[in-house]
């Protein structure tokens, strides 16, 4: 009982979520079967990012292992809004024993509004996360890197839905806390960070880019110290809840993020190493919080 936490009006069984794009519940159902439902590793489930149009994603290779982490250049492959709503949403609704948070990304404020509007009528969507690591094709500004741009986008989307809005901040910004303040001021209900940090690697044999898309995003324990600092600075700057993530692999890591002001934490790359990592980390965190 003492592990429960409130996020945007929802009671969660514990503070551990998944990071968007690091756990596909429907693919996991095919791999693990019904035991996934009975032992679901997270207290809320964040979907992979959905865009208006279908995306194939980046050409392979998409992964490159680095010390204590990996660089990925996946490129947001997804079925597109319509197929997500028609095919995936009913299956997720049936499968998930925890609240569903749908992640969306738009290239314009209009696209964001279209995405949010399409999800607004679905009771099974508990919250919407806005992935702001994308340039606005109309202004050329990355929504998550520019405070004014972020504020304008949140203001538009805010008017399109009554559902709680979580803004996923980019770490590739000069001042994430300033973006956080702008998003909160425009009506965001919560913030999540960090996303992957822009990174690249060369193939040792060819000295050519190791990834099909040349560059990608770094994740894993390699980013944890940077994430902890950014989460702390954002949490100090705003009054709304913060979901902290970046290289969390143990309950101790999670406790650190809570200590700098995060309300919840999310597990990403560690789930690649162990599909049940979210549950293990929640258990470890619970023990730590009870004894400290």
């Amino acid at each position: 009982m003492s592990d429960t936490i409130e996020l945007c009006g929802r009671q969660l069984a514990n503070p551990v979520l998944n990071a968007s794009g690091t756990f596909d519940a429907l693919a996991a159902l095919r791999t693990f079967g019904e035991r996934l439902r009975d032992r679901f590793p997270f207290a809320a489930y964040v979907s992979k990012t959905i865009t208006v149009a279908r995306r194939e994603g980046n050409p392979p290779p998409r992964l490159w292992e680095v010390p204590a982490g990996l660089i990925n250049s996946i490129g947001l492959p997804n079925k597109g809004l319509e197929e997500f709503v028609v095919c995936d949403l009913p299956q997720l609704t049936e499968l998930l024993p925890v609240p569903l948070i749908v992640s969306v990304m738009g290239r314009t404020a209009d696209e964001l509004c279209e995405l949010v509007d399409a999800l607004d009528g679905h009771g099974s969507v508990a919250m919407i996360e806005l992935n702001f690591s994308c340039p606005n094709v109309e202004t050329g500004l990355v929504m998550g890197a520019d405070p004014a741009e972020a504020g304008r986008a949140v203001e538009r989307v805010r008017a399109a839905t009554g559902k709680p809005l979580i803004v996923k901040l980019s770490p590739n910004a000069p001042d994430p806390a300033a973006v956080a303040v702008a998003a909160a001021g425009a009506g965001a209900d919560a913030l999540s960070l960090i996303n992957t940090i822009k990174a690249s690697a060369l193939h040792p044999d060819t000295r050519e880019p190791a990834l099909g898309a040349r560059a990608g995003g770094l994740s894993g324990p390699a980013v944890r110290a940077i994430a902890l600092e950014q989460v702390g600075s954002v949490a100090r700057a705003v009054a709304i809840p913060v979901i902290g993530m970046g290289g969390i692999a143990t309950g101790r890591d999670a406790a650190d993020f809570l200590a700098v002001g995060a309300r919840c934490v999310a597990v990403g790359t560690e789930s690649f190493r162990d599909a049940a990592a979210g549950r293990r980390i929640a258990d470890e965190l619970s023990t730590i919080l009870k004894t400290s």
Binding site: G21, T22, F23, D24, L26, A27, A28, L29, R30, T31, F32, G33, E34, R35, L36, R39, P41, K48, E56, G57, P60, P61, R62, L63, W64, E65, V66, P67, A68, G69, L70, N72, I74, P77, T93, E94, G220, T269, S271, F272, R273, D274, A275, A276, A277, R279, R280
Partner: protein
């Protein structure tokens, strides 16, 4: 709208479901076969009926992440080559065998494991081989790609002929694991000199009633695909791609197919050759 009563998803052919999350297993035996290592792993908490062609994610329980360059970090994907039942007096449990070659920080660490060492394993993952009516099974393996064909030959029985290609006599020692294999080597030091697909061409010219099951390096698989397509013979290919998770989470292991990218860990690693325009090297994490 009322929500229909929950029904378990129907089992997919070629797929045994995995326990959720990784589990600690124990290496019970190792063997050196030329440049390869065969490790046997007691998987007390895993299913005893993985399907040939399915794979596991492996990571040593110690010294994983602390080595030179602080790699390996991710677990490594390996098809199991055989599963047998072991009885330790208290319980019957599956023992899995994996064939490894040390070619990167992860495979080096795994190849260095000894009996008694701990191993994190997750699986069985993905979809393995499936039977194709009364067609005569023909197994085609290149190098370490022979691994998943071993358990498949055990299951199909003597009529499943194995054509195996290796670089040299040392590598060809992996062929000893098979029942009556036809072996060729690049340097002619054992068996016929030449590539394994030449043997396949001769077989298909004689008998188009075959079904081909193949695993090996991308150029070999592409040659198998092209040959089978030309002769209108069905083929199932076990592919490799760089993989982080093994259960569809990371979207890293995609391969190009006629209908776009597919995640190899969910839809594969065994794919019907007919859905591929060509087999490329899709990356790897060693």
């Amino acid at each position: 709208m009322t929500i229909a009563a929950r029904e378990p998803a129907p089992a997919e052919q070629g797929r045994t479901l995995a326990p959720l999350g990784r589990r600690l297993a124990r290496v019970v035996e190792t063997q050196t076969l030329g440049p390869y290592r065969l490790i046997a792993v007691a998987d007390r908490d895993g299913p005893g009926d993985p399907r040939p062609g399915q794979f596991y994610m492996l990571a040593a329980s110690d010294g994983w992440g602390g080595g030179a360059g602080e790699r390996p970090y991710l677990p490594r994907a390996f098809s199991f080559c055989r599963v047998r039942s072991a009885d330790d007096g208290a319980a019957v449990h599956p023992t899995l065998e994996f064939l490894l070659e040390a070619i990167g920080p992860g495979t080096e660490r795994l190849a260095g494991l000894s009996a008694g060492d701990g191993l994190w394993i997750a699986g069985p993952l993905g979809v393995g081989f499936s039977r194709d009516g009364d067609r005569r099974p023909l197994l085609v393996g290149g190098g370490i790609g022979a691994a998943p064909l071993l358990g498949w030959q055990d299951e199909l029985g003597a009529r499943a002929e194995a054509l195996l290609g290796f670089r040299s006599a040392a590598h060809a020692r992996a062929g000893e694991l098979f029942n009556a294999p036809v072996i060729c080597t690049d340097d002619g030091s054992v068996g016929r000199a030449g590539v394994v697909t030449e043997g396949l061409r001769a077989e298909l010219e004689r008998d188009r009633g075959a079904v081909v099951y193949a695993c090996g390096p991308a150029p070999m698989l592409e040659a198998v695909r092209a040959l089978c397509a030309a002769k209108d013979v069905p083929a199932q290919l076990a592919l490799e791609a760089g993989m982080a998770c093994g259960f569809g989470a990371c979207f890293g292991c995609v391969v190009s197919t006629r209908s776009g990218y597919l995640r190899l860990c969910v839809e594969g690693p065994v794919l019907d050759a007919a859905i591929l325009d060509r087999v490329d090297a899709f990356g790897a994490v060693h």
